[in-house]
Every structure is written in C-alpha cells, then in structure tokens.
C-alpha cells in the first residue's frame, strides 16, 4: 500500500526542524523544546501501530515520496514499513523519543561538569541537533528499501554518534571516539564494497521493489563472485553488530559514550545490523545463509555465552551493559540463522525487547551517574533499592526483557526464537535432544545469571551509598515510560502478529524453510 501523505519523510524532517529550533532558544526553554522533539520522534511508533491495526502492515506500506535514481544506476530510494521493520521502527522511536526528554537533565549536568573541569563542550543545542540526526538516521535505515539509501543513513548515524562521543564522552573520549570511528568505518567500508559489487553487477541497489503495486524482494544475486559480495556484506554487518571476535570496539564506545547516547547506541544502532542481515543480506544471498547455517548458529551461541560470561566479571555498570549487548546480539543472530519464520520474527521482536530493556538499564546507569556523583562501580553500589525503589523495579523489568520473563516483551522473542531453533534442528535420537537442550539452557541460563546476579549486586544487600531517596521527575519518569511500554507491547502484540508472520515467512521461504 502507498500512503496518502509522505508521513515517513515527515517523521524524519520534523524532528530535525525542532532540533534546529533548540539551537536558537534560550537555555530555560530547552526542556519544552526537548519535549516537542521527543514527541515528534515518537510519531513513527504511532504510525507503525496505526498501520498494524488497520492491517496494512501485513502487506507493507510505502511513503508516496520516492526518489528515482534509476538513471544513475542507483535504483529507487523509498521509505517503507512492514511487519519485519515495524519492531525496529517502534524500538528506535520510543527509545529516542523518551531519551530525548531524559537527555535534558543528564546533558545539562554533563555540560556543567565538563565546563567546571575547564573543558567546556559545545552547547546543549549542538548536542540536541546531533542527537536528532543520529535518531532519524537510524529510522532512515529501518525505512530503507535500497542498499545505497541504507548506506547513506548508516554513514550519517556513524558520523553523528562519533561526534557525540568525541564531544561529550567519558574517560579518554577522543581516543575512544576515534577507535569507534575506525572500527565502524572498517565495517562500513566492507559493507560498502559488497554493496558496490552487487550494485554494479546487477545494475541496481534495490532490494525491495514495487511489483504490481506490491512490495517484493529482488531475485537472489547469483552473478559470478557473488560470494565475495555476500561475505563482505555479512562481515561488515557482523562488525557493526559486534559479534564475537569483532566485538572489541563496543565495550569502549558504549561504556564511555554520554549515557543517553549509550542508550541509543547499544540496543538500537547495533541491532540494526541484525535487521539488515535479515532484510538485505538474506534475500540477496540465500544460498550463503543455507550453506553456512550451522556455522553461524554456533557463532550465535558463542556470542551469547561469551558476552554473558565476560559481562559477569565486569565491575563497571556501563561496561557490563555493553557486554550484555554483545550477548543479546547473539540472540538476534541465532533467531535469523534458524532460517525459520519463527526465528526471524523472533529476532526482530528481540530487537524491540532488547531496545526497551537495554535502554532502561543504560538510563538507570545514568541516574546513578547524575545523582550519585558519577557512580559507575558496581561494587560500590549495593542496597540501592532502599533509596531507589522505583528505579530498582524498572531495572528488574529491564532485565526481564533480556531474560525473557513475562510480562516483558522479551518473553515473546524468547519463545519465537526457541520455536525456530527447535524447528530448525533435525531432532533424531536422545543425543540431539540433550545437546540442543543443554546448549539452550546454558545460553539462556548465563543471561539469567548475569542479570539477577547484577540486580543483587546493585540493588540488594546492605546500603552502601547513604543519602536521600528518589524523587520522581521527568528524568526518571522517562525511564518508567519506556519500561511500561515494554509491558504494553507484551500485551498489545496482537496487531503485529500477522504482519510479522507474513514478513518472516516470505524470508524463510527464500531459504527453503517454513
């Protein structure tokens, strides 16, 4: 279906305009402008939900404003939402929307802090523009139907996030920003090389086209040397996703970025690479996915378990969360490489549940940094539930999303991914059941272990940081909202079910699965 109005373009442009206004307003009015900006960032979630309820999402929805680049050999740049991208769009939308409100107190505090140390960073307005550019570029990636288009948004997101880390980050922030920049550009360059090979050989960069009014994937890319393109794209995305072996940049960048940016980087940006794997790489190179399926499944399990175990040993809260993100990316990968509709759909839902859960947890880390004098060391926390009962409750909800315990949305993704895995594995004989079950139990168990052990280290036991209790302001309220939305989508999964099933089934049928 094609929309009547260019709503998707509007959702990209309006936040940008609002952010430019922030540059002009006086500091006292920053808060209200950030509210407006946050609200405009929430629009995509409303739009996706609206089309889910009307049922149009199952078919896929195009923005009417399309940029025709056929004569330049680039294909068509379109904006599009369907069941596969809806969880991604909603995830980006609600996290960026509420973090926008959260940012005000945090970043004003951060800017003060840096100024008092004699290295004043650019103003809040600059921060906010970069923040919005970062947010809408991620939305653009989720909307993209074309690889060149996707890459443009990708590059935009890398540059804006690089600047945010370099200006407002912690620790050795310039070095870490550079490290982040190089790593992600190595990934970007590999990805781009693969994309260019595909583009020049096939004469288009399109992956989704409109055929007789309906969206359709282009046929698989089978030109000579297609495997090279496939591997370049897959490895590029793996680096972005921080899969085991090429994950090393992530703990630095995500731990030392200013916390609102961490809350976007960690669940949202890296997960998009997983989405791109399903959206672009799978339909173009189904045979590569089939041939190396079990290798990739093994890599997923390694990533889950490795990330979880290393997280268990972290002493810095934000670094702990960063390793947890590595582990969570393993789940997304696992879902996709079951090559079943359940797994792929589960993986996309996991994007949303991880977005909600991890954003909440990073924002909680930010509360302690802002209110307890930069407290990040887990060993110095302990007993904080006594001072921050509400924050403790939302953190528990955040962890429940990662572990997959209802009423968190994570339960649905856990169930779908497990269904996909059980379907994919040819079970024959006791050995196969034992092997599968032990692997899954260890992987899921490690996630539960680091979650609940850390919950205890931070919030339970004797109180180590004396002081006053919590006050519920918009800073903490924005966390509460995201957490509540996670529960809301757990219950309100109904309208998305059909669209997710359709989109995932199309993909799984390309790889011979069901």
């Amino acid at each position: 279906m094609i929309m009547d109005y260019p709503l998707l373009w509007i959702t990209l442009i309006i936040p940008l305009i609002v952010s430019l206004i922030v540059l002009l307003v006086r500091i006292e009015n920053v808060r209200s402008t950030a509210y407006v900006g946050g609200f405009t960032l929430l629009l995509p979630a409303f739009i996706a939900t609206y089309y889910a309820i009307t049922g149009a999402l199952s078919e896929g929805v195009f923005d009417p404003l399309q940029i025709d680049m056929e004569n330049r050999g680039l294909g068509r740049f379109m904006l599009y939402i369907d069941g596969l991208s809806a969880p991604i769009v909603i995830g980006i939308s609600i996290v960026t929307g509420f973090v926008s409100i959260y940012s005000v107190k945090y970043m004003l505090h951060r800017i003060d802090e840096m100024s008092s140390r004699g290295e004043p960073p650019p103003s809040f307005g600059v921060y906010y523009v970069l923040y919005v550019v970062f947010s809408i570029s991620m939305l653009g990636m989720a909307y993209s139907t074309n690889l060149a288009e996707f890459y443009i948004f990708l590059e935009l997101s890398l540059l804006s996030s690089f600047a945010l880390i370099a200006y407002y980050g912690y620790g050795d922030r310039r070095r870490i920003a550079l490290l982040y920049f190089i790593w992600t550009h190595v990934a970007g360059a590999l990805f781009l090389a693969g994309v260019l090979y595909y583009g020049f050989k096939s004469g288009t960069f399109d992956v989704i086209k409109i055929v007789e009014g309906l969206p359709a994937y282009v046929s698989p890319f089978l030109e000579k040397g297609y495997q090279i393109a496939a591997w370049l794209i897959i490895i590029g995305l793996f680096i972005k996703m921080a899969v085991f072996g090429v994950h090393m940049w992530l703990p630095y960048a995500h731990a030392e970025a200013p916390t609102p940016v961490s809350a976007l980087l960690s669940p949202n940006l890296i997960g998009i690479a997983g989405y791109a794997l399903a959206r672009f790489a799978l339909p173009l190179f189904p045979s590569v996915f089939e041939t190396y399926q079990w290798g990739f499944v093994a890599l997923s399990f390694i990533t889950i378990i490795y990330g979880g175990l290393v997280a268990l040993r972290q002493s810095d809260f934000k670094r702990f969360l960063a390793y947890s993100s590595v582990s969570q990316m393993g789940y997304m990968l696992l879902g996709i490489f079951t090559l079943t509709a359940y797994g792929i759909g589960g993986s996309m839902l996991h994007y949303l549940s991880h977005a909600v859960g991890k954003a909440v947890l990073f924002m909680v880390a930010g509360v302690f940094i802002a209110e307890l004098h930069g407290l990040r060391a887990i060993d110095k926390m302990g007993g904080l539930a006594r001072r921050y009962p509400l924050i403790a409750a939302v953190s528990l909800l955040g962890f429940m999303h990662l572990v997959g315990i209802p009423p968190a949305l994570g339960m649905w993704s856990e169930i779908l991914i497990t269904f996909g895995l059980v379907k994919a594995v040819p079970l024959a004989g006791v050995g196969s059941v034992v092997l599968l079950s032990s692997l899954v139990i260890v992987a899921f168990g490690v996630t539960a272990a680091y979650s609940f052990v850390t919950m205890r280290r931070i919030f339970f036991g004797p109180l180590k940081q004396q002081g006053t209790g919590e006050s519920l302001d918009d800073f903490k309220g924005s966390i509460l909202f995201i957490a509540v939305l996670g529960v809301f989508f757990f219950i309100a999964i109904t309208p998305f079910s059909e669209a997710l099933r359709t989109a995932s089934t199309v993909l799984s049928s390309l790889v011979g699965g069901g």
Binding site: L309, M400, T418, L427, V430, S432, I441, G445, A449, F452
Partner: protein, 687 residues
C-alpha cells in the same frame, strides 16, 4: 481412547475473573505505589478483597463444573494469532479443585499477613507481589493453553524471587542456616538476596526446558491449547516416538515442573527460600507454587496415558514408561533424601521446607505411578493413581500451610529461627499447640487426619506400579516423616528450650493470625474424618478431568501394607517420644563425642553435601569459564588495540626506510613495481 471430556464454551468473562481480578488488584496497587500512597490499609484491603473475590468466583466455577460440565471460557479475539494463542480459561475437575485450594489458602494467608507484616517497611511491596502471585498461580491452574500457563508459571517464579528477597537488606536474623558454617569449604548460610538469586536461577534452568518442550510439542501437534493437545495426543505422541525422542522431549518438557517443585536435583533452592517472610513460605513454598510442578504432572500424565492407550503402539508405551520411571524415581529420591535432612535440622522453617520437598516427592510418585501402570492396568486404576497425587496435594496444602503459619508465630515469639531456642510453648498457647498437633499428625500420617488417607493412597499406587525400590523408599519415608514431625513438635511445644532466652514472654497469637491456622488445622481434621465425602468429591473431579474421565477409587482399604506403614509410623513416633521425652538423650553431646554420629549428622545437616558440590562443580566451573573468557577478552583487546597499531607503526617504519629522497632510487622502484604489476596482469588475465 476413552470418551473425550465434554465442556461448555462460554464467554471470556466471568470465569476468567478468577485470575484477572487479582492481576487488576496488583495493577491498582502498583499504580498507587507509583503515585506515592503509603497507607498500609489500602494495600491490605485491595489485596485481600481481590483475592476473596477470586476465591468466590472460583467456588462458583467449581460448583458449576461439579453440577454441570467443565467450562472453557474463551476470548473471542486471538491474542497472538501466529501461535494460535488466546486468552482462555479452562476449568475441568482438576482445575476446579486446584483453583479452590489456591484461592482459599491465599485468602487465609493474606489475612494472616495483614497482622504478620504490620509495620514492615516493605508492606506495600509485599502485598503488590502477593496479589500478583495469586493471580499468576490461578492462571497456571486455569490456563487453556501452554503459553498462558507459562506466563502464569513465570509470574509465580517472579513473585517467589521478589518475596524470598523481601528483606533484601540482608540482616542476619533474616538468613537461613547457621552463620559461619561451611561444608566442603562452601558457606552454608544464605542471605535473602542470595537465596532469591538461587531460586530464580534453579527454576530458570527448568523453565528453559519447559519452553523447549512446548516448542517440540507444538511443532509436532500444531496446537498449544490443552484440550486440543489431548484430542490430538495420538498424532504427536506417534510422531515424537518415531523420531526416537519421545521420553527425552517429555523429560525436557518436565524439567520446569521438577525445578518448580524442588525435586532432586533441583531441590536446593527451596531450602534457602525460607529467607522469605513466613506467610510467603506457607503460601508459595508449601501450599501453592511448589505444587505447580505437581499440577503439571497431574494435568499432562492423563493426556499422555490416554493418548498412548488409544494409540496402542509399543514404541509409545515403552517411551512413556521410561519417562514415568525417571520421574517417579526422582520423586522417590527426593522424598527420602529430604526427609533424612529434616531429621537433624535445627531451624523450624528448614524442617518444614525439607518436609515440603519430601512430600512433593510423594505426589510425583503418585502421578508417575499412573504412567507406570500403563499396559497392565485399566483406566480406573490410572485415574485413581493420578487422583491419589491430587489428594495428597490437597491435604498437604492444608496441613503444611497451617504448620508454616504456626511456625511464623513461634519464630516471632522466640525471636529466633532455631528450634533449640524454643520450647515449652504449649502451656502459653493452647490453641496454637492444638493446631500444631493436628497439622503435624496429619503430616505424620495418623488416622483419621487427611494426611493419613492421602499418603496411604500414594503408597498403595507406588506398590501397584511395581517398581520395588520406589515403593520401598516411599514406605521408609513415611516412618522418617513421623519421626521428624514429632521431634519438632515435642521440641517447640513440650520440652524445655536447650538455649534458654529468659526475656521471651510467650503468649497466644493475635486473632488475625490464630484464626487462619486454626481453621486450616481443623480443616485437615475435617477432610480426614469426612474422607468418604472428600474422596467422593475428588472422584467426581477425576471423572471431569481431561484424559481421565473415569471415577477414581479413593477409599483406603486396610491391607498388609497399610498395617506395616501404620506400625512403622507409630513405632517411629514412639521411639522419638522415648528418646526425647523419657530417656532425654542429649544428641548434641552425642555428636560431640561420637565421631560416627558426627559424620552422619554433618552429612545430613549439610544436605548430603549437594549444595557444596553444586558450588564447587557448577558455580566453580562457570566462574572459571568467566575468568577464562575475561582473559581471552583482554587478549583480543590487546591484539586489536595494541597489536594492530604496533604492526602499523612497524610497517610505517619499514616503508620510511624505502623513502631515501634519491631520484635514481625512486626510478628503480618505479620500474620494478610497474613490471611486477604488468607481470601479474599477464598471469591472471593475459592467457
């Protein structure tokens, strides 16, 4: 296959209010909490009211089921259509009995909690989670499909986690175990926050198994709806059996139940769960949540058995027998092992916790014996065996809840969880003593209390099932149970305290606490005295339960085995009475002086060293693995962020050597590389 069970389809409401109302109660209370309401009255009132309403609706539903037909209350709109998941409430005979037990016990214990938790700093949180728990537990027993069941299941686990760690600031008087005690070098004392993590991780292992099992069964059957799973059982049983994975998948499916019901080797979490407030121990860790695993067995064993009978294939029957043998075996091991641990424990709640796990073992034996009867007994026998499990579940829920509630008062009076600091309370609190005796004798299995009948039935079907070692352990456990129960009662009620605490003033419990346990204790007597009525009701429930659809035979006949068991129980009561009250043996002194006695005592007291072995083997290997991965991570870090830059620096240095600023040299280099490039071009594309 016997007649499929008929049911009346109704709208989603009102029957779904059984679990929806307490959820709403919890939601309202959470909002009040966020809004900053502090008053205890609001939390207590909303919680108790929503639970009472749920109990009343459950009663009405049970009445409808027993007088009319099973109920399937189904929402008209699917919830997650992809997996065919709806909001549905399915109430058959089993579900109705379970809902009655769960809701009314929850109500009584909520009332008790009003007084018990008075003035506690976590009062609002306690009642929010308590209400959430009741809703989840009702959902477990009334869910029409596996996903809803799983949601309730996880909800109870979450509530259990939160309530075990209720006093999360970890003061020493809230611990479990003797502070400072170690076994094999591992601490044997646990703070509330530690116990909470243990509970959630132990059960998580099982729950992941449950999800895998649900997946496998769904993929074979195409449905998650429980009545449909029953009607398609022949198909999916045959499919799983043809792949040779039937018993394995069923065991994985049952891991959740084993962990939830604290069966060996998952029993460890329940022991330390005693850090929670005592009403929580009574409700969650004795009367209801830990029974979820038993309910699971009672629910699915009939479906499996009926399917296998209808199918009649050898492979399926054998697969099921293997599966049920393992489950019954684990039940028997748990029943025996935990009873031995209860013999020597010195903490009141720990004794009851061991006893709970042990009695749950009995229920697993009964449910699994039904499956072991497969092939050489009729459906009536099978139904009776399953219902023996349910009988014991009901009678245990009643008397164990009473025991825990009494324990809550006694611990309050003694200011200590250790029984050595208690004693002689009978003269200060007659009604409490009577309650303790009634509930205790029911646990010990003395006629005409309900515990006697249900235990006899379990032992009877363990005998029928024909696995001698399981039967043997079941009988021995009966003797041990009587021994530890009587030891406990004598110790706290009649003997003088071993470690006197002079300033303790004992008196009768306040009414709000006394009445709930008195009611329960009398109920455990009434259920037994009126066993013909009780068994009639349960028998009717059996007829109305999916997969069974037969009247169960639940009257207890006096056989040789019954005689032996009664003699064993009386003998063991007599010996305990003699040793403690007449001979007054000083066991503490005995353990000091006698090496063998000390070894035996330590072995039992430290829970067969199983806890320490877990810490050494499982926790140990994971922390080594975490350490190794951490080290590996530093290596990867060094390679990328020191190694690669260093290579770059070296490369730059090497390249700088080439650049000497001499034109002739550059020209030579130019010629060299051009020819190399041409050569390569020729090699690859020239031919």
């Amino acid at each position: 296959m016997s007649e499929p069970l008929s049911y009346t389809i109704t709208g989603f409401l009102p029957w779904s209010l059984t679990w929806l109302l307490p959820y709403l109660g919890a939601l309202v209370l959470s909002l009040a909490y966020i809004a900053g309401f502090k008053g205890e009255r609001l939390y207590g009132l909303v919680s108790v009211a929503s639970i009472l309403l749920s109990a009343l609706i459950s009663t009405l539903a049970a009445y409808r089921v027993f007088t009319d037909n099973a109920i399937y209350a189904k929402a008209s709109v699917a919830w997650f259509p992809w997996l065919g998941v709806t909001f549905g409430t399915y109430i058959d005979g089993l579900g109705a009995v379970m809902a009655l037990v769960v809701s009314w016990l929850s109500f009584l214990i909520a009332v008790y909690s009003l007084k018990y938790m008075e003035g506690d700093w976590g009062f609002p949180r306690y009642f929010i989670i308590f209400t959430f728990f009741v809703a989840s537990m009702q959902l477990v027993v009334l869910a029409d499909n596996l996903i809803l069941l799983f949601i309730g299941w996880e909800g109870t686990g979450l509530a259990s986690y939160a309530l075990i760690g209720h006093w999360y600031t970890d003061e020493e008087d809230k611990w479990v175990g003797v502070p400072g005690r170690r076994a094999l070098g591992k601490p044997m004392y646990f703070e509330p926050s530690h116990s909470a993590v243990r509970a959630v991780l132990f059960t998580r292992v099982g729950d992941v198994g449950l999800v895998i099992g649900i997946a496998a069964i769904y993929l074979a059957s195409g449905t998650l709806v429980i009545p449909e799973l029953a009607s398609t059982a022949t198909g999916w049983l045959a499919e799983l059996a043809s792949k040779g994975i039937l018993p394995a998948i069923l065991l994985v499916f049952t891991l959740g139940a084993l962990a939830k019901s604290a069966q060996f080797p998952f029993h460890e979490w329940l022991v330390t769960a005693m850090t929670g407030p005592t009403p929580v121990s009574a409700l969650i860790h004795a009367a209801t949540m830990v029974k979820a695993g038993v309910y699971f067995m009672l629910r699915f064993a009939p479906i499996l058995i009926a399917g296998a009978i209808a199918l009649g294939t050898q492979a399926v029957v054998e697969g099921l027998r293997d599966y049920f043998l393992i489950v019954a075996g684990l039940g028997a091991i748990t029943a025996f092992a935990l009873a031995t641990m209860a013999l020597v424990s010195n903490e009141l709640k720990l004794i009851l916790a061991y006893s709970t796990a042990s009695q749950l073992g009995y229920m697993f034996i009964a449910a699994a014996s039904a499956g072991l009867l497969l092939g050489f007994a009729g459906m009536e026998e099978v139904a009776s065996s399953v219902m023996a499990g349910l009988s014991h579940l009901v009678s245990h829920a009643v008397f164990k809840a009473a025991l825990f509630l009494v324990a809550g008062w006694l611990i309050h009076v003694a200011h200590s969880r250790f029984i050595d600091r208690m004693g002689g309370y009978a003269r200060y609190m007659k009604l409490t003593a009577i309650s303790l005796w009634l509930a205790g004798l029911s646990l010990a299995g003395i006629p005409p209390l309900s515990g006697f009948f249900s235990k006899e039935l379990v032992i009877h079907y363990a005998e029928e099932a024909g696995v001698s070692w399981i039967f043997f352990l079941a009988v021995v456990t009966a003797g041990l149970t009587a021994a530890y129960t009587i030891r406990m009662i004598l110790r706290v009620m009649h003997l003088e305290p071993l470690e006197a605490d002079s300033h303790v003033k004992a008196h009768e419990a306040p009414k709000l606490m006394l009445i709930p346990y008195l009611v329960l204790a009398i109920a455990s007597l009434a259920l037994g005295v009126g066993w013909s009525y009780t068994s009639g009701l349960l028998s009717k429930a059996s007829e109305l339960t999916i997969g069974l659809v037969e009247k169960a035979k639940l009257s207890v006949e006096l056989t040789g085995v019954t005689g032996v068991v009664i003699a064993l129980v009386l003998g063991s009561i007599g010996s305990v009475y003699y040793l403690y009250s007449i001979a007054r043996v000083d066991f503490r002194d005995l353990i000091e002086r006698n090496t063998l006695a000390r070894y035996l005592h330590d072995f039992l007291f430290d829970r067969w060293y199983i806890n320490s072995i877990y810490y050494i083997v499982i926790v140990g290997s994971f922390s080594y693995a975490a350490y190794a991965m951490y080290a590996l991570d530093s290596i990867i870090d060094t390679i990328y962020h020191a190694g690669v830059p260093m290579l770059g620096a070296l490369g730059a240095m090497a390249l700088r050597v080439l650049h000497r600023g001499r034109t002739d040299y550059y020209l030579a280099m130019y010629a060299y590389f051009i020819s190399l490039a041409l050569l390569l071009l020729y090699l690859f594309w020239g031919r």
